[in-house]
């Protein structure tokens, strides 16, 4: 019996880790699979362009280290992190009556220390930086938005550098002069890459906030309970 217990215990431990972290694990795996799919399809598309421009196709490894692949990856990253950064900060001050994505319409703003359980109102399980009440609490109170905003700025900066390199390679292929990095930041290509991603993120966030008023997804915390009234705000099911 003890042998059975010893062999089944680690298995149940692994199962528990998988169960308790399903969202992070599944989306992490899906991210890698999708990135692999982008690498394969992007490589094929890149080589189609190479051939039509009269230059040699490249290997997959060469493509994966190219500025062309890098800019295609990070231009989507920056817009996703911008979306979350804006949503995290906007939902402090903006509400949507009836939406599960919004807090109660009278709770606009950063709310009180009691509501946020910080400083003297921190509980025994509160993070240490929520209890201190000094600069650490100020920083920790905004850490999610700051990190999302930081990753957005980093990935947007990376897009500008990788996009600049890819743009200049394309310029030389079509026998035009390369441009400086500041000049690239004024190129329509940079802003077209940027805004085509931004507009889709704003559409997705806005429609999620509004559709959540009238539509339900049973069992999802992104939705109100199925039987909740349309006017109920901030409930999750």
């Amino acid at each position: 019996m003890s042998t059975t217990a010893n062999t089944s215990s680690p298995r149940s431990g692994v199962r528990r880790v998988l169960h308790d972290n399903g969202l992070g694990i599944v989306f992490g795996v899906l991210f890698l699979l999708m990135l692999g799919g982008q690498a394969v399809s992007g490589h094929a598309y890149f080589n189609d362009q190479q051939i039509s421009e009269g230059v040699e196709p490249v290997s997959l490894g060469h493509y994966l280290t190219s500025s062309s692949f890098a800019v295609d990856v990070v231009e989507n990253w920056q817009s996703e992190y911008l979306q979350f950064f804006l949503y995290i900060f906007a939902t402090v001050w903006l509400v949507q009556r009836g939406s599960s994505e919004s807090k109660e319409v009278d709770d606009v703003g950063p709310e009180s220390e009691r509501d946020q359980r910080i400083g003297p109102y921190a509980g025994p399980g509160s993070p240490r930086w929520a209890r201190t009440g000094d600069w650490r609490t100020v920083v920790f109170s905004r850490s999610l938005g700051l990190v999302m905003g930081g990753i957005f700025l980093l990935s947007w900066g990376a897009q500008s550098v990788a996009g600049w390199a890819a743009f200049n390679a394309e310029q030389l292929t079509s026998r035009q002069d390369p441009v400086t990095w500041p000049a690239y930041l004024g190129e329509p290509e940079f802003w077209n890459r940027t805004t085509q991603n931004w507009q889709s993120e704003m559409l997705a966030v806005g429609s999620m906030a509004v559709l959540g008023v009238y539509l339900r997804q049973r069992g999802s915390p992104e939705s109100k309970p199925v039987g909740a009234a349309h006017a109920d705000t901030g409930e999750t099911g």
Partner: protein
């Protein structure tokens, strides 16, 4: 904390820019050597450093071999003024000429020569591929 994160970000971007510049620097002597000797080379040597697509375009346009076409093409011989390498493409500015190159499995090859700038429009080239 935020300031240090910005500092790290700036450092990452600076490193990426330096990496791009560094990789380009390694290739510049080779593209400059090929571009600066192209005009003075004999016809068969020129054809040897032309990109395959450019050879095909020249032979198709003139209905003659690459060597025959190169024998009739005179290009200005000038010193290197500047060069730029981006990915697998390069441009070398010479006194009186601009040469474009591409990296192939057998090394850097000339895609266009005898080129003149037309501002924002593509260069006008006396020798070029597709």
């Amino acid at each position: 904390m935020f300031r240090s994160r910005v500092g790290v970000g700036t450092a990452v971007l600076a490193a990426a820019a330096l990496l791009l510049a560094g990789c380009a620097d390694l290739e510049q002597p080779e593209v400059e050597r090929i571009a600066s000797t192209f005009a003075a080379a004999d016809p068969s040597a020129r054809c040897a450093v032309l990109a395959p697509a450019t050879v095909a375009a020249v032979e198709a346009a003139r209905s003659e071999s690459c060597v025959q076409a190169m024998a009739q093409l005179s290009l200005p011989e000038g010193a290197v003024v500047s060069s730029a390498v981006w990915g697998d493409q390069a441009q070398v500015q010479l006194v009186g000429d601009t040469v474009f190159l591409t990296r192939t499995s057998t090394g850097w090859k000339v895609t266009a020569a005898g080129c003149r700038s037309r501002g924002d429009a593509p260069y006008s080239c006396r020798l070029e591929g597709p």
